[in-house]
Amino acid sequence: MKRTAYMASALLLITLTPLATAETIAYTGAIVHTMGPAGTIENATIVIRNDRFEAVGGNLSPPGDARVIDVTGKIITPGLFSPMGQMGLTEVSGVDESVDFYQSGTRFSASFDIADAYNHRSPVLAVNRSGGITRAVTAPSPELEEETAAPQVFSGLAAVVQLGDRPDFIADRGCAMVVNLGEVGSAVSRGSRAAAILGLRAALDDGIDYRRNKDAVERGQRRDYSISIEDLEALQPVIAGRTPLLVNVNRASDIETIVRIASEYGLALILYGGAEAWMVADLLAANNVAVILDSKANLPASFDALNARLEAPAILAKAGVDISFGVDWQSETHTGRNITQSAGNAVANGLPWMEALEAITIAPARMYGVDDRFGSIEPGKEADLIVWPADPLELTSNPDDVMIRGQQVSLENRQTLLRDRYLQADSAKPPAFRK
């Protein structure tokens, strides 16, 4: 009986069945952290109709047509939002053929749009959503192999993706433009971070010139540009301040530089890495710059991070900076679900608990401008939620139930299948017969 169940669910996992019939679901009895204006509601009822939240409240009866799921005593949060990584762009980091988050060509840089490589059936996604990740930013990353690296300060366009089975798995294409400054910028600019800044300025100036002189460009009556026409096109929403630059930067002085440039050109900024961002927290708050950082990075991993410290999230948040957690290390993609550990460690080092939960739900949605669609439990928003048996930031706590856009998704993945196979230690037949 049990074995049949495993087989059925394995099949489900592989085929990723399109949305079953739309239904109305009501969760009752949980403590709900809405991360919206309603705050935390005890003994709450959440009503989901089709793919959206219809209602949430403390004194709410489930509608008659709803399938009621009693989760009394449990905790409900919005789905978790991983703000930086390469989900759906890599299966095995060390297997080049399965990796699509960088390219070493010289023709394109800013226009390199990873959404076209995104694999919404990647087994990596299933592992992460079993940990409660429902949305993620998946982003290009610079190639740093010396022999093949192209000198490009832009890595290209990131996307907000949805980890469920719903068809619109790209939730926001081109949500940010990845730029490399600091040590990485120096590496991709042949030796100096000043060259990276120069490359960035030249591209922005070219983008502005191109916008003003498109006709002349088409007639071939304009000077040469530092990047391709495709790249100049891709920069237009950045120059207009609509699409944020997602800047790989750690050193405080480099952060000051990019904030100055952003202010000069009217650009929106999100920093990632941000090891020394806490040193300029007030500047970032005043300029509405968000930071995605690694709450566990407290060592001088490089000279750009001499002053890394565990209290950085708390210091930034206190100054009013929107923060979230992530690191620019590709293998973190596979363990993206550990974002709860990052949040928990930030709490251990001074960040208020609710702000830590905010940093992994609504705050990243706000950074990327998709908070009107998801990131909190509010009527009208897409219904992403997690049911937890206990404090979601505790490492012993794993989701009981994950809903993405109104659909309860399978928590099984190849890791649970492997686990179940080898749980049965005593068997007359080899493990290959246990599936």
Partner: protein, 454 residues
């Protein structure tokens, strides 16, 4: 003049070590010259104690005297002891990381600090990690704040046989000898799988395949046997002793059971092959490191008395790590084998307790109950056993070294932090008194001093 002065200092150290009766060969070159910091008599009162032996003792006192655990019990009478009210605290053995590269891949991670992989030829048993350990690596201090009192520093995994590992006490020293764990056996780093064959095969050299890997280990052991036999024969007056060979000397140390094998190995099938090789040449494997597929051969590990040192959930970064699961350590433990949580990371090393917590949570989902008193063994007792130092440390038992971590709550909560650390009974880290904590030379003038490394 200067030279004479230096000699006197060394002479003094040796004398002191002899006076304290430490069973250490202080006169041998490269030997431990570790001296415990000054310690008084300390009583931790009313704590929740995880002994590391599998027991949990509530509301319990621990007395530390002369650097040792002097008593464990209730209402211990210790006149003159400095007493710490630990009623809100949990006390465990100091954390032991069986797999670290602190000092040989020090922070900052610049090329000049890359001292862990002598990838000039696939078998470099002649190199010793300790000869590259930079004691000013800021990672030692941050590990201390994570409760780590002992660690093994290993060469990297680029080579089939990468060289000797060394076990250190996590104490500030000006050189590695001042950090070496007295009497700890050496380790020998070996590596299976992708790393050696990728590096050498990529240059058209052997090993290019896993076949080449295995041929490489076996060839090395055959040479070691020959060297051992010639040495023995010469001792018995038969023939001349061969010239001293550093590489083979270390390998013979393994064959003689004096040096413990620490084998980087991910895949279950490769672990099984490595066990066959150990049988062919008559040595044993202390521990498979990384061992992401240990859960597939947990019975084999138990039968061969080999530990599996694992992460909680690293997976997918290379092909041989594709089958990693969070329950790995729990399944190894369930089979009666020795499970260890290790770091291989200066960041992970600071929170091995959190990695264990992930395993506990995952195991609980499939009805494998791992209480704290069982999980703590994965980062204390079992690594001590793997390193051959269990008789000295790794559990809280009367007579053992007073290597102790005091936590401000259940160590398996993400919110819990290490409050104090004692090594040989000396308070070496106190979260509430940052001014008294060590700071490496490199960290002077950085946030580490004001709290960044705390």
């Amino acid at each position: 003049m200067k030279r004479i002065l230096v000699s006197c200092v060394i002479f003094q150290l040796v004398t002191i070590a002899c006076d304290t009766g430490a069973d250490v060969e202080t006169t041998t070159a490269y030997a431990s010259r570790y001296k415990p910091l000054a310690s008084g008599v300390t009583l931790l009162q009313g704590a929740t104690v995880l002994t590391g032996t599998g027991e949990r003792l509530d509301n319990t006192d621990i007395l530390m005297r002369d650097g040792r655990i002097a008593a464990i019990g209730s209402n211990i009478d210790a006149a003159g002891a400095s007493t710490i009210n630990a009623s809100e605290m949990w006390v465990t053995p100091g954390v032991i990381d069986v797999h670290s590269h602190l000092g040989v891949y020090a922070s900052p991670g610049v090329a000049a600090h890359s001292d862990g992989n002598e990838m000039s030829t696939p078998v470099t048993a002649e190199v010793w990690a300790e000869h590259a350990v930079w004691p000013q690596d800021p990672g030692f201090v941050t590990a201390l704040a994570g409760g780590v009192t002992t660690m093994q520093i290993l060469p990297g995994s680029g080579n089939l046989i990468g060289g000797r590992g060394v076990t250190l006490k996590n104490v500030p020293g000006r050189n590695v000898m001042e950090m070496k764990f007295p009497g700890a056996p050496y380790g020998l780093k070996m590596a299976c799988g992708e790393n050696p064959k990728r590096f050498y095969g990529g240059q058209g050299l052997s090993p290019m395949t896993r076949m080449g890997n295995v041929a490489g280990y076996r060839t090395a052991w055959i040479e070691a046997e020959d060297y051992r036999d010639k040495m023995k024969a010469a001792e018995n007056g038969k023939g001349e002793a061969p010239m001293r060979d550093l590489r083979l000397e270390t390998l013979v140390g393994v064959l003689n059971g004096e040096i413990l094998v620490h084998n980087h190995c991910y895949r279950a099938d490769e672990m099984a092959v490595m066990i066959e090789i150990s049988k062919e040449f008559g040595y044993s494997i202390s521990t498979f490191h990384h061992a992401v597929e240990a859960y597939k051969v947990a019975d084999l590990l138990a039968a061969n008395n080999t530990c599996a040192a694992v992460w909680a959930d690293w997976w997918g970064f290379k092909m041989e790590a594709y089958d990693g699961i969070r329950e790995n350590a729990a399944l190894v433990d369930r089979a009666g084998a020795c499970a260890i949580i290790h770091s291989d990371s200066e960041i992970g090393m600071q929170r091995l307790n959190q990695e264990a917590a992930k395993v506990m949570g995952a195991a609980g989902r499939v009805d494998i109950d791992i209480p704290p008193e069982r999980a703590i063994r994965w980062l204390t007792r079992n690594p001590a056993s793997a390193l051959g130092i269990l008789e000295h440390t790794g559990t809280l038992e009367v007579g053992k070294m007073a290597d102790v971590a005091v936590w401000n709550g259940n160590p398996f909560s993400v919110y819990t932090k290490v409050d104090r650390v004692f090594i040989d009974g000396a308070l070496i880290y106190d979260r509430n008194d940052p001014s008294a904590n060590p700071v490496t030379d490199f960290s002077l003038g950085t946030a580490a001093v004001s709290g960044g490394a705390q």
